[in-house]
């Protein structure tokens, strides 16, 4: 039987011409993993899963898995803001989640994500930092928000934001008082103080392919082929907290409007998923 030498196996075609491979699927209005262009991967959220932390969560979007743990410590506040505590988010992308990350100090992607998470907490005023004050000018709580990606399959930012926000909602701190006589901060054994978040933002990431097709919740393969990414963050009252669009081809306001509509719908979905996970 003569094998037709011009007919490639699908796998080979995907390796040699990844863009054309994706294009063929898109033309049929479907993506390589079977989803439609506007379909999100199944998302699950687990709360308070790590008992040694003050607050924790685990988020899965498709295969992308992010674990978030929050640890509280006491620190001295900055001189210019004696009533404010600190929130320190940090995401760790190591070889455990994907071979494209090398061991060692945080790479560019990890730093950019950490910076964006920090910006979101600050600019959206997610938590009133004066609620972390123990004694003005002397002691405040600092919350280290550590995110670890356990499996990287694209759309890490969305997973991280959901993880960070849900972990913050289930943080339990001890009651802390400052003793003047000893100059020490005393805390109760029992963890009873919870945080009151001022805002609950969730993000939605969309990739733009060929300057026209919006691929919602891109997988790692889709991310590596498309250079464009649009991320939109809404809060619970429909206010925008952040819009981030990088790279690639120029896009039009219509794309942004579409993304905003998608983001608003998705916000309701995420809220329901998070509520059912408590």
């Amino acid at each position: 039987m003569v094998k037709n030498s011009l007919a490639f196996e699908a796998e080979t075609f995907r390796k040699i011409q990844p863009q054309e491979y994706l294009r063929r699927f898109i033309q049929g209005n479907i993506r390589p993993d079977g989803r439609s262009l506007s379909q999100f991967r199944p998302t699950t959220v687990n709360q308070s899963c790590i008992t040694t932390t003050n607050g924790s969560s685990m988020v899965r979007i498709g295969n992308t898995t992010v674990v978030c743990g929050i640890k509280a410590e006491v620190a001295t506040p900055k001189f210019n803001s004696p009533l404010e505590g600190y929130l320190v988010p940090n995401i760790d992308l190591s070889p455990i989640c994907s071979p494209k990350f090398k061991p060692g100090p945080p790479g560019e992607l990890a730093q950019v994500l950490s910076e964006n998470l920090n910006n979101l907490l600050k600019s959206a005023s997610v938590l009133d930092l004066t609620s972390l004050c123990i004694k003005e000018g002397i002691a405040v709580w600092v919350l280290y928000i550590d995110l670890v990606c356990v499996n990287y399959d694209g759309n890490i930012y969305d997973a991280s934001v959901i993880g960070m926000i849900t972990a913050l909602t289930n943080v339990k701190l001890p009651e802390a008082t400052f003793e003047e006589s000893s100059g020490l901060v005393k805390a109760t054994e029992e963890l009873s103080v919870t945080l009151k978040l001022q805002r609950i933002p969730y993000s939605v990431t969309v990739a733009l392919f060929d300057g026209q097709h919006l691929l919602v919740d891109p997988t790692e393969v889709e991310e590596s082929i498309t250079s464009e990414q649009i991320t939109i963050v809404f809060d619970e009252v429909g206010q925008l907290c952040s819009i981030w669009k990088v790279g690639g081809l120029p896009s039009s306001p219509e794309h942004l409007k579409q993304c905003m509509n998608i983001a608003r719908e998705r916000y309701k979905q995420i809220s329901m998923i998070v509520k059912s996970s408590i």
Partner: protein, 215 residues
Amino acid sequence: MASRKRPPSKIRTISIEPNYVNRDGSALFKFGDSAVVCSVNGPTEVKLRDEKVDKATIDVIFKPLVGLPGTKDKTHEYIIRSTVESVIKSNLYPRTLIQIVCQVMMDDGNILATAINATTYALMNAGVEMKDIAVAVACIVNKDGNILIDPELREIEKAQSYHTFAFSKTSFGLLFCESTGLFTEEQYFECYAICKIAAQEIIDKIRMKIQLDLT
């Protein structure tokens, strides 16, 4: 507190100084009191591990005025690199390195847009072929809901939301956008429209400067 001395939709005086340092290409771009010097070195030799067979490797380093570079500067590097990667014809320079270094000289707000514009001019100064030109400008929405373009540092500190846009010259499509703070969809698209008009002004300024230098 002194209020702004110029109308809300007016950008500060732009000043461009090409060939600021001795590199393949360089430029100093100023928005009033915000200045960034960008130097471009390339196409030049690339390390084997960074080599790309079909296009140029673009490396961006962003150095702040004060302190050691941190995550914020890394983010600026990422933004400048991805914006510029899309406009440079990198497939004309395979297996080479185009090294871009941005140094903040004076910081009075709107520093990312200043850096992107400086990079664009420095690339032209270096003779790197591009299929488009990226121009950037920022604006804020302050607590009264007014939109102020090209904000100064003290205006940014009190702003409700801060938006930076980068447009492409040929199609005026959006190349890059970063918006943080609390804002509505209407406010966002208003900012978009205002910044687009300002971008046209910046392009005209750049074109005038090039014509001046060539004659």
